[in-house]
């Protein structure tokens, strides 16, 4: 039996999901055994794998979040494009079966799909219906725009709610997705799709205005910053915060943990911006196949990916986790099953994504993106702490972020 090592970052209910997938696959055949290993958060497992690669010890499959995409792509020789793996493994692989926004993101300029989109998410809006009711708001009418969110927040606060609004993934939800949603650039060169010459531009008036609003909310106490990454995720299902923006992948946890009625809605936007709402950007992670493995192993990987892309498997995963169904077939299957009707809001993520994208909204693919996210976190934290004005913070973030981009460009010119 050939073992296939799979490093991932799925914890909690998602971890169970990953284990179940492996189990199903392992039980479906005898030749291969997928061994999933939780290696910590997205950044942790990615760096662990890179270290392992340098030491000649990389796993076969690695789950990398979308932020690491550019880094993975740039690492010629370290990875083996999925398309190739599938071909080598003799598995039929049709790139066109995938949702365009997703497939496009993980596809190289030459049209080859590089990684397998296992769990793509996007940014959506969660709100606590019980809290809305208590604040005298209509629980069935989700706030669609930022002005509505702010108004609702004020009411929630007035009704005694300590944390009206919060967000996880600050950069992803409030800058990256926010920009795409308003069809505005986050970085030049089509957000980096055009090459490593890209530079950040998110200190434009629109983003600035938004952060000024958030800063005001923070000052009023209607927006509470809960920390970096997904640190805020907990505060919604716990009932602490009444509204939040976060990953659609949080659905698994919310549906399990929330002891109150909740609603899911699209990401808020500014109605006065032309072209808004456009589409939100992809998040979540994809599976990368590392180079230098035996043919046998690649065969196994191909088998496994083939299993994962089956419409029923996809659909079940989508229902269970809130991650997007990545093939059109799976989306259809889910829709036909009546799931979206039964659980209103679960289609929000899909509908946000299954739209025609523009050059400005296809996604963001930048080198050293992990550091840039950290820089954005560091700088925006200064806003919530009242130490910097939004303008200062965004300008500084752009400046520091661009230094990273320069470095990346230099280190990867070969």
């Amino acid at each position: 039996q050939t073992e296939i090592q799979w490093w991932h970052s799925m914890s909690g209910p998602l971890g169970e999901w990953v284990n179940d997938l492996s189990k199903q696959f392992n039980e479906s055949q005898k030749t291969y055994k997928v061994v999933p290993t939780f290696k910590g958060g997205y950044d942790e497992s990615m760096t662990a794998a890179i270290a392992a690669f340098r030491a000649g010890n990389a796993p076969d499959i690695l789950q990398v979040f979308e932020v690491g995409t550019a880094t993975m792509m740039a690492s010629k020789g370290a990875i083996k494009p999925v398309a190739e793996v599938m071909k080598q493994g003799g598995v039929k692989f049709d790139q066109n079966a995938y949702v365009p926004a997703v497939a496009g993101y993980y596809t190289a300029p030459n049209g080859q799909m590089l990684s397998f989109p296992l769990n793509s998410s996007t940014t959506i809006f969660y709100y606590n219906k019980d809290a809305f009711k208590a604040a005298g708001l209509d629980p069935e009418k989700a706030p669609k725009t930022w002005p509505e969110v702010m108004a609702a927040a004020d009411k929630l606060k007035a009704s005694g709610h300590k944390c009206a609004f919060t967000t996880s993934w600050m950069s992803w939800t409030q800058l990256e997705s926010f920009s795409a949603w308003h069809n505005t650039l986050f970085a030049s060169e089509n957000n980096g799709f055009g090459g490593t010459k890209a530079r950040l531009v998110f200190n434009q008036p629109l983003q600035l205005k938004h952060f000024e609003n958030l800063a005001k909310m923070a000052k009023d106490g209607t927006f509470v910053y809960k920390g970096r990454g997904n640190a805020a995720d907990a505060s919604f299902p716990a009932g602490e915060c009444a509204m939040m923006t976060g990953s659609s992948g949080l659905y698994a946890r919310v549906s399990k943990d929330a002891k109150f009625a909740y609603g899911i809605s699209t990401l808020p936007y500014y109605p006065d911006v032309k072209g808004a709402p456009q589409n939100t950007v992809i998040g979540g992670a994809s599976l990368w196949v590392m180079s230098g493995k035996s043919a046998d192993q690649y065969k196994g990987v191909a088998q496994f990916f083939d299993f994962l892309s089956k419409a029923d498997v996809q659909s079940a995963s989508h229902k269970r986790t809130g991650y997007l169904p990545v093939t059109m077939a799976a989306y259809k299957l889910t829709e036909d099953s009546g799931f979206y009707k039964e659980k209103p809001g679960t289609d929000v993520a899909v509908t946000q994504m299954i739209r025609k994208t523009t050059d400005k909204s296809r996604g963001i693919r930048l080198g050293n993106f992990v550091q840039i996210r950290t820089i954005i976190d560091e700088e925006t934290e200064q806003i919530w702490a009242g130490k910097k004005s939004p303008k200062e913070a965004l300008d500084e973030a752009v400046k520091r972020g661009n230094e990273q981009l320069e470095r990346f460009q230099k280190a990867n010119k070969g």
């Binding site: 290993t37 939780f38 662990a48 995720d233």
Partner: protein, 282 residues
């Protein structure tokens, strides 16, 4: 003390009790948390007296729970930690005893250099050289092995230095007596020096056992399979995601379990620990 001042004595007790309260509070709280359900803990403020779910939390921790993404079996992790800590402690003591013996009781070329080479390793904490070290380990095929978890950490400038200090304080007459009695170097080492170093050995055992047990960064890299994770990693992994998803009750039960072996070592051996350190160190 010289004067009889009951006031001062009472004050001493008060200060010490306060100190203990401060020092023990986090652990007490962890214990309390380990006896409630997750929801009870997440209610703000959490209860500060023990609850009724101790047994189920601890058995969940010990046997592993499927609620975590990765199945975390504390029993296995404790065993890994224990083996690692033991090997590190014993190994460090053994090789340090030998090298300190060579350095103190022999004259050989480059002795100073050797001493400095050992001493200099103090300056190379794992954090500073972790990636290349990891590469060496991988090249030697030692990932996911006890050897990989332990050998790279086994060199010890501290222990060598401590033993050196201690050996220097062993009266010359003892060697002389042993030589007149006909003992050669290894015989002297085995029959006289090692038994005499008992307290230092005990002290170092405590220090190094704790050091081994508490390793975090190194095992994080040196192991990639779950059955080789030590307990400290296990706990950190359990809280790798945001607050609420964390099963704080299980985490805290695990934390308490993880505390037990090193605490036992420290408490049982505290007498030698202090004595060994102080007698030789100063």
């Amino acid at each position: 003390m010289v004067e009889r001042r009951p006031g001062l004595t009472i004050l001493s007790h008060i200060v010490l009790l306060l100190g203990i309260a401060l020092v023990v509070f986090p652990i007490y709280l962890a214990f309390v948390a380990s006896t409630h359900t997750r929801d009870e803990i997440l209610k703000v403020p959490m209860p500060i007296t023990p609850g009724a779910h101790m047994i189920e939390n601890y058995s969940a921790a010990l046997l592993g729970t499927e609620t975590q993404g990765a199945k975390v079996v504390v029993g296995r992790m404790m065993w890994v930690s224990f083996v690692t800590a033991m090997v590190i402690a014993v190994g460090k003591i053994a090789i340090s005893l030998l090298s300190a013996f060579a350095i103190v009781y022999f004259r050989f070329p480059f002795k100073k250099l050797v001493f400095w080479m050992i001493f200099v390793t103090l300056m190379l904490p794992v954090e500073v050289r972790i990636l290349p070290t990891y590469k060496v380990l991988a090249d030697l095929n030692m990932l996911n092995t006890y050897a990989g978890l332990t050998v790279p950490l086994i060199a010890s400038a501290t222990a060598t230095f401590l033993f050196r200090q201690f050996f220097l304080s062993v009266p010359d007459e003892l060697v002389e007596a042993a030589r007149i009695d006909g003992a050669g170097p290894m015989r002297f080492f085995k029959d006289i020096l090692v038994p005499l170093s008992q307290t230092s050995i005990a002290a170092l055992f405590v220090i190094q056992f704790i050091y081994g047990w508490n390793q975090y960064l190194w095992p994080l890299l040196a192991t990639t399979t779950e059955d080789m994770y030590p307990i400290v990693i296990g706990i950190k992994r359990m809280i790798a995601t945001g607050d609420a998803a964390v099963d704080w009750n299980i985490v805290m039960a695990t934390a308490i379990l993880a505390l037990v072996p090193p605490s036992i070592v420290v408490i049982l051996m505290q007498r030698w620990f202090v004595k060994g350190l102080v007698d030789t160190e100063k």
